[in-house]
Assembly symmetry: C2
Homo-oligomer: 252 residues x 2
């Protein structure tokens, strides 16, 4: 059975409940785009979708949860869209380029929304940030795609970097997303070129990771991001907490 | 004689004209902070500073130029503030850590402004972006500081990377600035820790650049940024222009 958020997956026809959920999500996305995220209320979304306010809240606890639902849907659509390229290519650069291109294709209809929504999502402490604990489900999915990119490539990856590189690759994808948000070229043509260039650069970087002398640096870059971006790992939410106070489960 | 934008430099006492310019700039910064950048007019700035609107426009062509004046001033203050640490330290990590810490010290009073101003400066195509052609003066100053950081360090830097590394170090400083904007910790304490960690990471990265096998990757990272960030170099403003049309001076 498909997971609640995994509608893009193949599987049995969606249930009535899944259809209602999808209808609310689509209505919300449309209203967010038309009226702006800040000005759209749950009440307005429910009315426009033709469901009761109580019903809307049954599926989504609030606007922030609608955004998480949207992130989850993009992530699920992306997983499906990359299957073909990941089944076909064994070259790391081609695999990564295909994955990034597929993301740009899927995100295309939401560009206008992303531009106006950016101010809500740019703050890493906001639940709407891709780095927030609230966005974990979508993030884990997206990092999983990069894990597959690496796992199926003929480029050898040292065992000690197998967990670290997919997260760094996803971080560089977030850099591409940031670039895409501000890209005003026709058809986001520059973003597509950046995706191709980024894939080449990343695959060269990964190839260099066979040099032992470099690996501590890769670990250190990864540690810096996980220590300073909230929600990047559940274990280390705040570097100060590690040093200045025991974690909750360490307390007597 | 000090340059027009170089008031923080030591030198002769400021002229009447320089004082008026500084007064307008300070008034503008205060009003931007109090009322928001979008809602503050040149007229209001002139009135509050006690000068005529014509006089305000004599010094600054508009609000965007006030922001450039502000960037220039921060850059000039920073150059002065880092003199002591750059004269004293020869260790690359200490030099860079000192430079980043000095920036956070200088920027501290403007944090609130930076938070609300961010939506104007985040767009790399905006003249207010640190990557814009309009911000070039402040950017060149800031990259110059990183050039000094490297030049005075005992770490050997390969000649072929001497122009590339300061720009990459400045780019990572822009990453710190982005982090600082969203930092809500008391006294921006996490940003100071990120500055220290970033300095350590960068100095290790620079030390690794002695390995010849890595240098093409450093060049490629640099090229990617200069090709895709407008204004990063005047020579290559748009990668598509290079391929699809001859540069103006190549035309017959």
């Amino acid at each position: 059975m498909p997971a609640k958020n995994d509608r893009a997956d193949e599987g049995p026809a969606p249930t009535k409940s899944e259809q209602t959920r999808a209808l609310i999500l689509e209505t919300a996305m449309r209203l967010f785009q038309e009226r702006g995220y800040d000005k759209t209320t749950m009440r307005a979304i429910a009315k426009e979708a033709g469901v009761s306010v109580g019903n809307a809240y049954y599926y989504f606890d609030g606007k922030e949860h609608l955004i998480q639902g949207f992130y989850d849907r993009i992530a699920a659509e992306h997983r499906v869209a990359v299957r073909e390229v990941l089944a076909r290519e064994t070259d790391l650069e081609s695999r990564l380029a295909g994955v990034l291109k597929a993301w740009l294709d899927i995100a295309a209809p939401y560009h206008e929304f992303a531009v106006q929504f950016f101010k809500n999502a740019a703050d890493p402490d906001s639940p709407l940030s891709p780095f927030s604990p609230e966005s974990e489900h979508a993030r884990v999915e997206a990092i999983g795609v990069h894990r597959e990119v690496l796992a199926g490539a003929k480029t050898k990856v040292p065992a000690e970097l197998r967990d670290v590189l997919p997260e760094l690759m996803w971080l560089s994808q977030m850099g591409l997303v940031l670039y895409w948000i501000f890209d005003r070229t026709e058809g986001r043509e520059r973003s597509y070129r950046l995706a191709a260039r980024g894939a080449r650069l990343t695959s060269r970087g990964v190839a260099l990771a066979r040099f032992r002398v470099l690996r501590p640096l890769v670990h250190e870059v990864h540690e810096l991001f996980t220590d300073f971006l909230p929600g990047m790992t559940k274990v280390l939410p705040d570097p100060s907490a590690r040093r200045e106070a025991p974690a909750p489960d360490e307390r007597p």
